[in-house]
Symmetry: C2
Subunit: 363 residues, 2 copies
Amino acid sequence: MSTPSLLILPGDGIGPEVMAEVRKIVDWFGAKRDLTFDVSEDLVGGAAYDAHGTPLHDDTMARAQDVDAVLLGAVGGPKYDALDFSLKPERGLLRLRKEMDLFANLRPAQCFDALSHFSSLKQEVVAGLDIMIVRELTSGVYFGEPRGIFEEGNERVGINTQRYTESEIDRVARSAFELAMKRDKKLCSMEKANVMESGILWREVVTRVGQDYPEVELSHMYADAGAMQLTRWPKQFDVIVTDNLFGDLLSDLAAMLTGSLGMLPSASLGAPMSNGRPKALYEPVHGSAPDIAGQGKANPIACILSFAMALRYSFDQGDEAARVEKAVEAVLADGVRTADLLGEDGTVPVSTSEMGDAIVAKL
Amino acid sequence: MSTPSLLILPGDGIGPEVMAEVRKIVDWFGAKRDLTFDVSEDLVGGAAYDAHGTPLHDDTMARAQDVDAVLLGAVGGPKYDALDFSLKPERGLLRLRKEMDLFANLRPAQCFDALSHFSSLKQEVVAGLDIMIVRELTSGVYFGEPRGIFEEGNERVGINTQRYTESEIDRVARSAFELAMKRDKKLCSMEKANVMESGILWREVVTRVGQDYPEVELSHMYADAGAMQLTRWPKQFDVIVTDNLFGDLLSDLAAMLTGSLGMLPSASLGAPMSNGRPKALYEPVHGSAPDIAGQGKANPIACILSFAMALRYSFDQGDEAARVEKAVEAVLADGVRTADLLGEDGTVPVSTSEMGDAIVAKL
Ligand SMILES: CC(C)[C@H](C(=O)O)[C@@H](O)C(=O)O
Ligand SMILES: CC(C)[C@H](C(=O)O)[C@@H](O)C(=O)O
């Protein structure tokens, strides 16, 4: 088998800093576990705009299509706020998702024991929380046409289109059922079938796919009730599947329940390539955090855990993924904390780079 | 001035039970405060479907247009799950909202001192919480055309349209700014301007309306970040304004933060009628709770507080509204609890009707 390839797109804000720590982990695997990656690096988001006048250069897009996995830091920043919609940093990320056809966004929301007190929720509500949200990522209102701002009579109207085909729903539902089979065999699908026809079709197709997974206990919930239930008692869920827009809000909500956003990774997976690996992009859940960029304060753990997800889902190295995850837990158990993980107990925070080193030391 | 008119639509599930308690309050005002209402009652939702084969009869719609305020209990139930989309109980409610043009849905999320321990959030995060979400209620993806399930090639596609005109955004933004002026003069507008053009127009129009309210501190947040921030530290907000769909999720999320859904009222307001009163519909936030319907277990407080909102927003009786609200607080302080408000301390719950009587006794 040829050397697996990895395209690194650090992006904006704290992206480059946290990615530098991932490089240390990648290097460690090459040196100590004979697991070598063919790593290349390129620009995305504001960084790409600054260099090329576009948030994603065509060459970068082509490279992303060609590699086994893409690892992205973060995009965006106030510097780019005034840019035209089509040039905004986010468009680079959205183009990657769309053209790589990464339809299944896996968003684990896990509460780390050492950090559960950070949650705004009561300890008993979140301790041990371990749920997985599967968000559809290539369709829905994010991409549906017609879209835009149009003249109508003597005023303007802003239009976006929510749009789902049966096959789009079918494939993401299958991903979610497959995941549920490997977990607690419980899947909850969320939509607004009470007010949206696209939600009716969603519910119907998910139910139909469920017939192929009789072992999985399938339930349906309106997305507003879903937001409530996630807040009230999140541990009632195992896997949740939902559309692009609801998934955006609900997965961020679920992330916040854990209280430690700087800890959460994500994977966005597409169809299998000719080598059997799925098209894949991995990225931390947090944003580019322009306010602390360049100060060595950022927490690299979410990005490191995103690489762990790559080991698991792209490179079939579940054991090595678990090794990284255990190293992270061990470092936390030792009380090593970046600034975002500090309580009021007077612990001195470590820098981004010190956190990366501490994790490498535990591997 | 003629006797103010009130149309009561108890609806389904626990709707009729909780509404019976509101009637006691209404009667008390007639008997003791010389504040008499011309009350009529009619059907909505499943109850209307059972009687007339439609979730809202045209005659009821006409009456709703004619009265000073409508008070609705709740709609829906499993009995109606298999009905065609256009006949579902929810369509009755949506028709009322749309034809009465109730564009501003006021959703207070308030945490009652006596109940803050019910929240899944830490006490310090929610104690004293008092925010107001203003949700646009007559447009957006709930009503936009085209909508439906269509054949396309050899599969079906579900389509809904998110659609906002400048004037639709303008008027709900004004309602929100007006409310902010009467509160802490802070307004946060939420959309997804980073991915949706309708969100771009939303942000632009809200910003423009803000120029008429220089005293109000206006901020903007992406709706996913909004969901996070509501979960993390809700007290950072005063008034929030958002669209119909985001508002559906975010206001339910905010409601759940308080931990006592059975306590929360809402008002849906339209343009002023010829008598200067806004078109108005008041309803509790909770649903029809078919599982406990008819058992005398339901908490009537949300519906009673919805009537209090009617006193304030439709009948210019802010002092009398406060009287009702204080009576509710006093009853709670006395430890009177319906079953939904019970902890594990062995308190014996009161029935729906006993709760209503207790509140009347405090008035
Ligand atoms: C950056 C933005 C376009 C993106 C989204 O809305 O999908 C982000 O919020 C996410 O969830 O990955
Ligand atoms: C019952 C349903 C149609 C409704 C909505 O989605 O608007 C409800 O969730 C609400 O928020 O009032």
